[in-house]
């Protein structure tokens, strides 16, 4: 079937001179197991087969997605005629050498080789751990693994086949006393490694006990604090507070944003280095080629506190006169690729955690995440776990806190960067209706002065 499909794609791309056309065909399969409370609630297997065609004629894009792979030529014709209708000022995509390549998935421990009953046995064990916790009200466990195989070809001669296998696990423990409900979650993921979801019994136990402890924990008093973020939450912070600003589709046609994001501008102290790249191997945001066939790279966004780069698709790169960075991604064949992050990291500094908190009279230590979002100027993110810092020491447990701030001020207000880089692989990023896109983010502990915390 593959050989046949390749011929069909090649055939469909013929005869389109003077403009740009690309075809993506995708097939996938996924397995899912979920528990609600003591019982397994849902086990299912799914498959998918679909594709899309994207065409650029003059300045306008046409896009057609479909499940029926029957007539690719027809789909190409439809995308081209839509693009013509859009029209607009003509431009050329930034150059990217055409690629012919077939790459298999990164597989440390292939989840597809593990029988469904084995996966269930592991999750049963986790559920037993959860339910051994006194006062636990309920819990959820959601496990999923899936493989996607994507064929990409364009009218410039590229033909790329890529596969990826994703594994995700999310566990939530819920404690309730009368109308008071507290929850703690854990979210884990990997690129092709079932091993990361194994052996989590102890962590899950601690997590469930914390959900119960939160019922007796106080709510933080709202206001400005010195806040220390653990590597997981700092990773969410760099993703929300700076990563999205670096996505050039927010910038390229917006004169005011171009002024804000001018290269060479200082955003933080000398100690601040931020990098994004799918070429950093074996992480959830890693791949060989992006969805426009551009090879994965590693892009410094901030070096020694100064803006030095940004994330591009071939269009945004062309319009800003910069080089593509391999950041055009789509969640699946239903969507056109847009500029996205991959693996986003604050590089480690040299401050130990003890030194970081030692001179804080009253502050907050925020760990773990519920979620985060940004408006570009302002960001919010919520910590799943928080403690007061008093007299240089981590003190009492708090209920989860929400942090917010102005992106630009907050980056300046980072005054310490730890030496203990860790990656958060459990997140999925949402943008323009495409969610959850596998990404990872990471950081060492960081300290932020004057951060607004919501609360009582």
């Amino acid at each position: 079937m593959v050989g046949d499909l390749r011929d069909q794609i090649t055939e469909a791309l013929k005869g389109h001179q003077g403009y740009y056309v690309e075809v993506r065909i995708e097939e996938g399969e996924a397995t899912r197991l979920s528990y609600r409370g003591r019982e397994l609630e849902d086990v299912g297997r799914t498959t998918s087969q679909g594709g899309n065609v994207r065409a650029l004629v003059d300045g306008g894009w046409g896009f057609a997605s479909f499940n029926d792979l029957g007539d690719l030529r027809e789909q190409v014709a439809s995308a081209v005629s839509q693009a013509r209708l859009v029209g607009g000022e003509s431009f050329r995509l930034a150059a990217s050498a055409s690629q012919v390549d077939i790459v298999g998935p990164t597989l440390k421990s292939d989840p597809r080789l593990i029988p469904l009953s084995e996966k269930k046995r592991l999750l049963d064990e986790y559920n037993d751990v959860l339910w051994a916790t006194p006062l636990l009200q309920t819990s959820t466990i959601g496990y999923g693994d899936g493989r996607r195989r994507i064929i990409f070809a364009n009218s410039e001669g590229s033909y790329i086949e890529q596969s990826r296998v994703d594994v995700t696990l999310r566990v939530t423990a819920v404690a309730r006393r009368n109308g008071d409900v507290q929850q703690v979650g854990m979210s884990i993921g990997s690129l092709g490694d079932f091993g990361v979801v194994e052996g989590l019994h102890d962590e899950i136990k601690v997590m469930a006990e914390r959900a119960v402890a939160m019922l007796d924990a106080p709510t933080a008093k709202g206001g400005e604090y010195t806040v220390v973020l653990d590597p997981i939450l700092a990773g969410v912070f760099v993703h929300e507070a700076f990563g999205h600003l670096s996505e050039s589709d927010f910038v390229y046609e917006n004169p005011s944003m171009r002024e804000i994001m001018v290269l060479g501008k200082r955003f933080g102290g000398q100690h601040l280095n931020i990098v994004d790249g799918a070429a950093i191997p074996d992480l959830r945001g890693s791949f060989h080629y992006d969805e426009e066939g551009v090879p994965a790279a590693r892009t410094y966004l901030i070096r020694e506190g100064v803006l030095v780069g940004r994330l591009h698709s071939r269009e945004t790169a062309a319009k800003m006169g910069e080089a593509p960075t391999g950041n055009a991604r789509a969640i699946d064949y239903r969507h056109p690729p847009i500029v996205r992050m991959t693996n986003t990291i604050i590089e480690p500094g040299n401050v130990s955690f003890e030194d970081m908190i030692s001179d804080i009279e009253e502050g907050i230590y925020a760990k773990n995440w519920y979620g985060g979002t940004t408006s570009m100027e302002m960001f919010t993110f919520s910590a799943g776990e928080a403690y007061m810092i008093r007299h240089g020491k981590v003190a009492e447990l708090l209920r989860p806190v929400m942090l917010t701030g102005n992106v630009f001020q907050t980056l300046e207000n980072i005054d310490a960067i730890g030496n203990d880089l860790d990656m958060n692989q459990g997140g999925g990023c949402g943008k323009a209706g495409q969610m959850p896109l596998p990404v990872s983010n990471g950081s060492p502990h960081i300290r932020i002065r004057k951060c607004v915390v919501g609360g009582k």
Binding site: N67, G87, V174, G179, S256, S375, T404
Partner: protein
């Protein structure tokens, strides 16, 4: 195909159900004030749920799949699956719900309407950068099962939305509105008007001191910040699980006695409406809050059976997962205070149109907390300007028991949910400086 799949599945199990959806949509998208992209999306998917030896098996596919492969996948999962408590519905009469309009709006018309919407909004604020989307979707849904149940409907949804960004230095203002209907929307003027009004109210920027202040949530503010934690509490599955703060509270007056909330999938022309739910159970009006009292929860078949009650026709499913209870068309009853009076009666407080990040905290516990992305300060009964860098936090179970006023006018927010404005008794407001 779906009959063939059902027949094949039936031969291997006690009961089976096939859900299929076919969808075509044509969104056009504007970026930085001009047309950027025209799209067509066509999709077909089918899901099979079966009960074998008393357990639920499930498989689904987008795109081509052989009935044999799908049945095999579902049979593979069944031995591990949940014990089946549900009984699939037989052939039932459905209410007639107007949700389909055969009219096709030409792409050229959508393009022209989108451009004039953007031009109208930018007339007085040329620096505003606008994105807009206009699109039409038509779908066909079938649910058939081995008990003779046959649900079928066609639905059309026409939607429009605009988002404007105004940047001054690093200061950013976000405005915009959206609407949707099962019929083509002939006039975008109301959407332009809302956006222009937001621009007007946000012209001046001011500050609010940290502390406890009364907060007016506009209908959009209620939709964005308060509704999802509230509806989570009424989800029968979460109630059954014991994780809802409303467990054992049926009949109790937990909310302000003026508060009424219901779910009604039979309301015509709303995108969430349909004659039957995703398990083929007829749609009906379900009262959730009756004069402040907890009246009913939302159930699908399995959750209802586990809870010793009836499905409320609230099953909803993404193709690739089992059905689960969800709301359809939600309506909050109107109150008696005109919006203008609500503001005029405020000595000092806050108006919230959009709270960023509101759904991120302990939603299950009813908590909401977010940064005021679009909101205004009220002083002496007048809106005096926009506030920024400000966080509003609260718990819906406390806040909705402590309502100062409910708006007399209500709005179809996004075309999908009908809500009045709410003025809530002092909430924690934390702001910079």
């Amino acid at each position: 195909m779906i009959e063939q799949l059902l027949n094949l599945a039936q031969r291997h199990c006690e009961a089976a159900e096939v859900f299929s959806i076919t969808q075509e949509s044509t969104p056009v998208r504007f970026e930085t004030n001009r047309l950027k992209e025209i799209t067509t999306r066509s999709s077909q998917g089918v899901a099979l749920r079966l009960i074998k030896d008393g357990r639920i098996g499930f498989a689904a596919s987008w795109g081509e799949v052989s009935p044999r492969a799908l049945v095999d996948m579902a049979l593979e999962t069944a031995p591990l699956g949940a014990a089946a408590h549900l009984e699939l519905p037989s052939l039932l009469p459905y209410p007639s719900v107007e949700i389909y309009d055969p009219a096709d709006v030409a792409v050229e018309t959508m393009v022209q309407m989108g451009q004039s919407l953007i031009d109208r909004v930018r007339q007085n604020t040329p620096d505003l950068q606008c994105e807009a989307h206009i699109g039409q979707t038509k779908m066909t849904v079938d649910i058939i099962n081995s008990q003779g149940g046959r649900g079928h409907y066609e639905k059309s949804v026409f939607g429009v939305g605009i988002e404007g960004t105004l940047i001054r230095g690093t200061d950013m203002l976000f405005v915009g509105d959206s609407f949707s209907s099962c019929q083509p929307i002939p006039d975008f003027a109301p959407i332009a008007e809302t956006t222009l009004e937001q621009l007007e109210l946000a012209k001046e920027t001011t500050t609010i001191k940290s502390g406890q202040w009364p907060v007016v949530f506009t209908p959009r503010g209620v939709a964005g910040a308060l509704l999802s934690p509230l509806l989570m509490g009424f989800n029968g599955k979460i109630v059954w699980q014991g994780a809802s703060p409303l467990v054992n509270k049926l009949g109790q007056r937990l909310f302000d006695p003026r508060l009424n909330l219901w779910d009604d999938a039979t309301i015509p022309l709303r995108p969430g409406s349909r004659p039957c739910d995703d398990e083929g159970v007829p749609s009906q009006r379900i009262t959730l809050i009756d004069q402040g009292a907890v009246a009913h929860f939302l159930y699908d078949l399995q959750t209802a059976a586990l809870s010793n009650t009836q499905s409320t026709g609230s099953a909803s499913r993404a193709l690739t997962s089992l059905p689960s209870p969800a709301s359809s068309t939600i309506i909050m009853g109107e109150g008696e205070t005109p919006y203008a009076d609500m503001i005029a009666n405020l000595k000092e407080g806050l108006v919230v149109e959009e709270l960023m990040g509101a759904g991120q905290g302990n939603v299950l516990g009813g908590e909401f907390s977010g940064n005021v992305l679009l909101g205004y300060k009220v002083e002496g009964g007048k809106i005096v300007g926009r506030v920024k860098d400000t966080m509003v936090s609260g718990n819906i179970y406390q806040a909705l028991a402590n309502i100062i006023a409910i708006g007399k006018e209500s709005l179809w927010v996004g075309g999908a949910i009908r809500l009045p404005a709410l003025c809530l008794g002092p909430l924690m407001v934390a702001s910079k400086g």
